[in-house]
């Protein structure tokens, strides 16, 4: 069981609950691999309230619920829902409560999932609120590191790319501060991580900031690349020159440790060259694959365990 009954922020998950989630993710993973069907959520309904499109995240939640024997309903297009008629989020959540057992919400405004959790007694999972939190992605990132290295403590982690707007990386950094890790932030000066994020972690873990990727190459265990969004640049030449210095290709990988892993929340554009996909360090597809078993574990624990 997860005590808070809602996963709005990674802080809603205690250390022991995180271990519980990861252990159950392992077992869900084994079930999926063995092809054994699970029916623990039979008769239960998961609602997906998606106020902005994110096909990948929504399908991952829907697949997870259906793999558990449950069913799903919801919307992913605000235009076709009552939201476009000006209904408040609070009212939409009250309505969804009567249709479902657990609610997943994605919304462009920060704090929206916390608000939703205040208007329902049913569990709420935040699938991204503006530039705020995206805790299931964070759990997935942490799970991947733990799965690959056995533990997170002691890892040297490089976070690369757009650290200013990339919310996954903000959530991840805050969560990493719960472990004994060393973090290097690699980004162009214009895309550095915001000060209000840094100030929360700088006294807890060792952090370095740099704009050159080369010196972390032989040292880091984890290279976590994020998407640099073209839309952020008014000058496309600037984008092209930046992407050149921050994208990972096989030449860069050859300077990494053999045991290092490369992660990315996907979808990627130019940040990782396709020639890297076949190299042993590439883990981003595996990371994405873990999304379903992890969400199966989370739904199960939020709805009262395996029995």
């Amino acid at each position: 069981m997860i005590k808070s009954r809602c996963i709005v922020s990674i802080d809603d998950v205690s250390d022991s609950e995180m271990n519980e989630i990861f252990d159950l993710t392992d077992r869900m993973n084994e079930s999926l691999e063995s092809g054994k069907s699970i029916t623990t959520m039979k008769g239960k309904i998961l609602a997906t309230l998606f106020y902005e499109p994110s096909t990948r995240t929504r399908l991952s939640f829907e697949s997870a619920m259906q793999r558990l024997g449950g069913s799903t309903l919801g919307f992913s297009d605000v235009k076709s829902s009552s939201v476009s008629k000006g209904e408040t989020l609070a009212d939409t959540v009250r309505m969804a409560e009567s249709y479902s057992d657990i609610i997943v919400i994605r919304h462009p405004l920060e704090g929206s999932a916390r608000l939703a959790s205040r208007f329902t007694a049913k569990p709420v999972i935040n699938a991204g609120d503006g530039s705020g939190q995206h805790p299931t992605q964070t759990l997935l990132d942490l799970y991947t590191m733990k799965k690959e290295f056995g533990k997170i403590d002691g890892l040297k982690i490089a976070l690369i790319g757009d650290l200013k707007y990339g919310r996954t990386v903000h959530s991840l950094l805050l969560a990493l501060s719960r472990f004994k890790v060393q973090v290097t932030l690699v980004s162009p000066p214009s895309l550095r991580i915001p000060q209000h994020i840094i100030s929360k972690v700088k006294d807890i873990i060792k952090i370095e900031e740099t704009d050159v990727i080369s010196h972390v190459l032989p040292e880091a265990d984890v290279f976590y690349a994020t998407r640099i969004q073209k839309e952020r640049f008014t000058d496309q030449n600037e984008y092209q020159s930046l992407i050149g210095s921050y994208s990972i290709d096989s030449e860069l990988v050859s300077q990494m440790k053999e045991t290092a892993i490369i992660m990315h929340p996907l979808p990627r554009v130019d940040e990782i060259n396709p020639s890297v996909d076949a190299l042993p360090q590439a883990r981003y597809f595996k990371q994405a694959y873990y999304g379903v078993p992890l969400r199966m574990a989370l739904i199960t624990l939020l709805l009262g365990g395996e029995n």
Partner: protein, 153 residues
């Protein structure tokens, strides 16, 4: 001799004492005391004080303060003392208090926060630290620091 006596006594009204030096203008703005009030306001700025070094004192004739006004003052002047005066006598004296939660007093400075929309909720913050003053929005987790808090009051 008590330096505050430099300001004339009031018959009925409120004395706000122990305001940190220079913050009385902010207190006046919280109380919506502009150049257009129809009661007497006396102000002492940078009055020497045994405990605060320099303090400000505000005396307002014929006005008594509401709960939410006291809560706002607590954010600016956490050690302020309030005296209610009737017929030149102090009938009640207390300190303002900054509670652990601040509700409905200020708005979140994050323009992209759900609490700044028409949802049926009131802005709410947790007092993270008192010195320096840091408030955390319970919705979006954004931390607001003193300068931001004062300009949002």
């Amino acid at each position: 001799m008590d330096q505050t006596l430099k300001i004339s006594k009031i018959k009925d009204g409120t004395v706000i004492d122990h305001i940190p030096g220079g913050k009385s203008l902010k207190v006046l703005s919280i109380l919506n005391i502009t150049g257009h009030v129809n009661y007497t306001v006396s102000l002492g700025m940078f009055v020497q004080s045994k405990t605060l070094g320099f303090k400000d004192v505000v005396k307002i004739e014929s006005r008594f303060l509401e709960r939410d006004e006291l809560d706002r003052i607590a954010l600016v002047a956490p050690e302020a003392s309030i005296s209610k005066i009737r017929n030149y006598e102090i009938v009640e004296k207390f300190q303002v208090s900054l509670t652990d939660r601040v509700t409905d007093i200020i708005k979140c400075s994050n323009q992209n926060c759900i609490s700044n929309t028409k949802e049926p909720i009131r802005p709410e913050f947790i007092v993270k630290t008192r010195k320096p003053l840091i408030l955390t929005c319970i919705y979006c987790d954004r931390e607001m620091f003193e300068g931001e808090i004062l300009s949002n009051l």
